[in-house]
Symmetry: C2
Subunit: 324 residues, 2 copies
């Protein structure tokens, strides 16, 4: 069977098969259902580390250093880089990726970037799937990198078991006011560009405003990504988080599973909707009635749920019809 | 019929009935389905103006000035204030609300604030419904205020027909890097606290980086909310947007309707999921299997879709079962 062959390649660490598997899952190509089931069964071992922070804080350079350090300590490192921002800022991320060719000859490093295609829910679902593939391929640290500091990033980073938040000194002032969300999700805070003025003050401020997930004070470190200064300390802190996560993983949180399944359910509905508008002859008329305010959106959604129910029953038996 | 009575009260402008109607829709209390259908039919007249910007930029004070100015020009003004940020920063918004008691004796002003209850999708759905009620109640300008500058805010503000983005001088530096999303959605940019140093530079910067929705340059204004300086000019600019919106409204965009219905559909699924975990005996076992990685989330979601389909058919005939 094709899916199983591909899965074998993935578990043996073939980067080509990893890439193919991620593409199949991401684009919901034929066979993606079986593939996901097989991949998912083989996951659950990796440590997923979120890295978040505003553009310009030096995330990519720092991640580059961190990869080198973790590699030298014997870890296989995967990176899933997610850009939830608008196409307007998309260029920067591409530039960051280019810097990472650095690792292209090292089989122990795999880097995948994905951009938003309009749906943010889809982005986080696809990130989960890419992580799952890398997990099955025995990458033991998977870095989930995201650009930005808003709620979206907080949501994406929720997929991770622990999170590093990177900021730079000049932003010290704004930290308190503008990044409240991030202040709550960080397990480690890094003040990068610590050779610039204000780094100590920024570290102090973060120490004051950040809250650890368990109510405690999270770790605050200083780095200079340009020269990888402070990165060994960072890597050790990451290994500490890994050990913690391993201890906790034995009992996987129910909330986490509920999150994952709800997200999948939302995904099903989104594609069913996109498909339904094309294939259900009545839906176009229904949308027109909503436009004319003869029907309210909730009532329209109820009719659609019914239609999906009736049409949906065939699909599990005919998985080839999914996607595309 | 109760719903119709309430609708009559709403269209007659009773603030008590408006409040009740919004609560019924928000909490999906019994009868919310009929109520929404009736309210929705009566909407579509108001101009919905988004106002976004980081905390501390003086949004509430400025909105306060703007309300006074719009009132003096004969508009009825509704405000729906939405806080998508974490409970950590929730306090600030409450403080803002208190400042608004200013208008409590003016029947031509209605202010409603809503906080995130975990679901961001829910927040934007509820904001739409509150707007719809105020629309039916003949408020001709409805201000949709949101705290923050991330993607979430951009999503919420999408509900609006036009948007004001408020910033303050000190933030000039970060504007470029951090608010790319907002830079694209503003129809008017306001540099508030224009008596502080750097206001001119900030205005200049915004002029450079902001793009109007149609590719043109959006308007940049300077205000001092403390003294309502610059607010008459702002109100005139808003009236200009109103006139534009009215001209466009004749043909309501298909995309807008699709958005609204998709959001409603997502809402249905979210509540069905929440309900299903409790009421479908098989779901708990299914979640357990996902936790053990014996079933992948997509397959679990497919089973749930089927269950919802079968269980879902009864509900339109028995609307009292919905919600709660």
């Amino acid at each position: 069977m094709r899916a199983l062959e591909l899965v074998r390649g993935v578990t043996q660490g073939s980067r080509r098969d990893i890439s193919r598997a991620i593409t199949i899952l991401e684009d919901e190509l034929p066979g993606s259902g079986e593939l996901y089931a097989e991949i998912y069964r083989r996951g659950g071992k990796a440590f997923v580390l979120g890295v978040a922070g505003p553009p310009g804080a030096g995330k990519s350079t720092l991640i580059n250093c961190l990869i080198h350090e973790l590699r030298s300590r014997g870890h296989k490192v995967g990176v899933v880089a997610v850009d939830p921002t608008s196409p307007f800022t998309g260029g920067a991320l591409l530039g960051d990726r280019i810097r990472m060719v650095d690792h292209s000859l090292d089989e122990g490093v795999y880097i995948r970037s994905m951009a938003s295609r309009g749906s943010r829910g889809g982005l986080s679902r696809n990130a989960r799937k890419a992580i799952c593939v890398l997990d099955a391929a025995n990458y033991d640290v998977i870095i989930l990198e995201t650009v930005g500091i808003g709620q979206t990033e907080v949501d994406i980073v929720r997929v991770a078991q622990a999170t590093i938040v990177i900021i730079m000194p000049e932003m010290g002032d704004s930290v308190q006011a503008m990044k409240a969300g991030l202040m709550e999700i960080g397990d480690i805070f890094v003040v990068n560009k610590a050779d610039l003025e204000g780094a100590d003050r920024a570290a102090l401020e973060i120490g004051q405003f950040a809250r650890g997930k368990d109510g405690g004070r999270p770790k605050v470190l200083k780095t200079v990504a340009k020269t990888c200064q402070g990165v060994p300390e960072l890597a050790s802190a990451v290994e500490g988080l890994m050990a913690n996560a391993k201890a906790k993983r034995a009992t996987r949180g129910r909330e986490e599973v509920v999150d994952e399944v709800r997200e999948a359910l939302n995904g099903k509905v989104e594609s069913a909707f996109a498909l339904g508008v094309v294939s259900h002859p009545g839906w176009e008329a229904l949308l027109k009635k909503v436009a004319e305010r003869k029907v309210d959106p909730d009532s329209a959604a109820e009719v659609m749920m019914k239609d999906l129910a009736e049409g949906g029953r065939a699909s599990p038996r005919n998985p080839a019809r999914r996607g595309r």
